[in-house]
Amino acid sequence: MSGHSTYTPKTGLTRWLDSRLPILRLAHDSFVDYPTPRNLNYFWTFGGILSLCLGVQIITGIVLAMNYTANAALAFNSVEHIMRDVNYGWLIRYAHANGASMFFIAVYVHMLRGLYYGSYKAPREVLWLLGCVIYLLMMATGFLGYVLPWGQMSFWGATVITNLFSALPLVGPSITTWLWGGFAVDNPTLNRFFSLHYLLPFVIAGVVVLHVWALHVVGQNNPTGVEPKSKADVLPFTPYATVKDGFAMSLFMIMFAVFVFYLPNSLGHADNYIPANPIVTPAHIVPEWYFLPFYAILRAVPDKLMGVLAMFGAIACFFALPWLDTSKVRSMRYRPTARLYFWLFVLSACVLGLCGARLPDDQVIPGLKTFTLIDSDPNSFVWLSRIAALYYFAYFLLITPILGLVEKTSPVPETIASPALNAKKA
């Protein structure tokens, strides 16, 4: 951590504890006296919001598990039992289901903030990688949890995702059979998914501890991307960051509550209120919204193995980012060209999300007849997703490495405090 501890136990009990287990000292040094850059904006409150989301998911999840039955014959009805019969079951389940979406909203803001302000650059690579690991674990947990209600979307989502592994040459079919515990998604699959869905949030909590540890070793990045150089650049975590985080959490909880109480099913799919049927696939299956961009990339590629590799590659790009970025300037505040490409990247991810929700052969501009380009109409969502996916990969693999070498950046301030001081002079 940074420098000496300033913690002084005030009572006999805390002095006694401090010489045996200095846990209060750790908490004080990490969350009270910890120096934070003075210029953090509201995008820096999402770390706290994410811990809140994890807490909400764990608490609501433990309660749901008390009323849920992980058996293919009983699971669907046990969820309806939670919704109709269990006291406040509807509230707890809606909080858990929408909580997953809130978690992903927060994690995407958190990741894009890191992307924009260069929070992955040296010396924060390990911090960034741990964040990527948490994101992967979150996706796994979200997927496993979505299977548990055992509705049509649960069943067919599980079928499609587990079949991704069948694309691997040689070992593919054995791996899918091993994942299923049978010849198709069935009761053994549901049982193990429940077990793992209960386990992974605690694994996430463990990696979060490492993430915060790494954060406290290298210190927080800030909107200028300039490291704090003196006391003038920092403020103590409490009250400055705690109050700001608390305010942001309150606003976030208001949005969360709007979904739970007024739009509880708006982010889900009606088909998941139909019990799982292994011999009928719904006419239009889509994953949860937070997977749509990756689903669109999977469908954009006409080859099975290549499609699966592209999808996983899209996630792998985030892991490689610290070594793909060649720019000497950390924050995009001083990289006007990079900023343009960044927003195009955000746009491409949103377009991919849009494409993932539509049928591949649907027309983008309704009624416009064109021709067949290779295998499909250029005026179709499959071609739109190809263009967006191409940009997505180009952003990581071409633009980020090349731009850092050739771009013209604006002047970077000497210290965090200096822009404010100069503004005062002017």
Binding site: W156, T159, V160, T162, N163, L164, S166, T177, W178, L179, W180, G181, G182, F183, A184, V185, D186, P188, R192, P278, I279, V280, T281, P282, A283, H284, I285, L298, R299, V301, P302, D303, K304, L305, G307, L359, P360, D361, D375, V382
Partner: protein, 184 residues
Amino acid sequence: MSNLAVGATIDPGHASDDPSRRDFIHIAAIAAAAGGAASVAWPFIDQMNPAADTLALASVEFDLTKVMEGMQVTIKWRGKPLFIRNRSAAEIAAAQKDDNAPMKDPAKDADRVKAGKEQWLILIGTCTHLGCVPTFGGGDWGGWFCPCHGSQYDTAGRIRKGPAPLNLALPDYAFLSDTKVKIG
């Protein structure tokens, strides 16, 4: 560091120039631990493979008189859907006409049915892409269309367009009589 410790504990009566014996003990201990860990890990991995009762799923007998010409019945076999289709003459003709058309997974229509029973097409009804159940009557070849990622199969269940790599799979089956088939 380790050499120092070794030197400090060694019996002076014995020559200390015997590193090979000590190396052997180290390697043997590590190998035993690794082998032990692997043999303990295996049951925990293998418990996820299909259990004995899942593997013991019996074969299915099916009465074909239930399926009119141009009709398809879907039954569940090994947790998966099975298509039993009584093909019309037009469907058979369309499938045979395309026998030499360029295909991702080339196959003759005759190889996908039993000789003399051309009207009976029996397929495992899971898309070879990601396992969804294709619906009959969609797509450009009048066969099956997968709603998940748009793969299209013809009236012999051969893949003609889309991301699926292989034709719809054929289960092992045999005709017990003209009206009875045993699958599995």
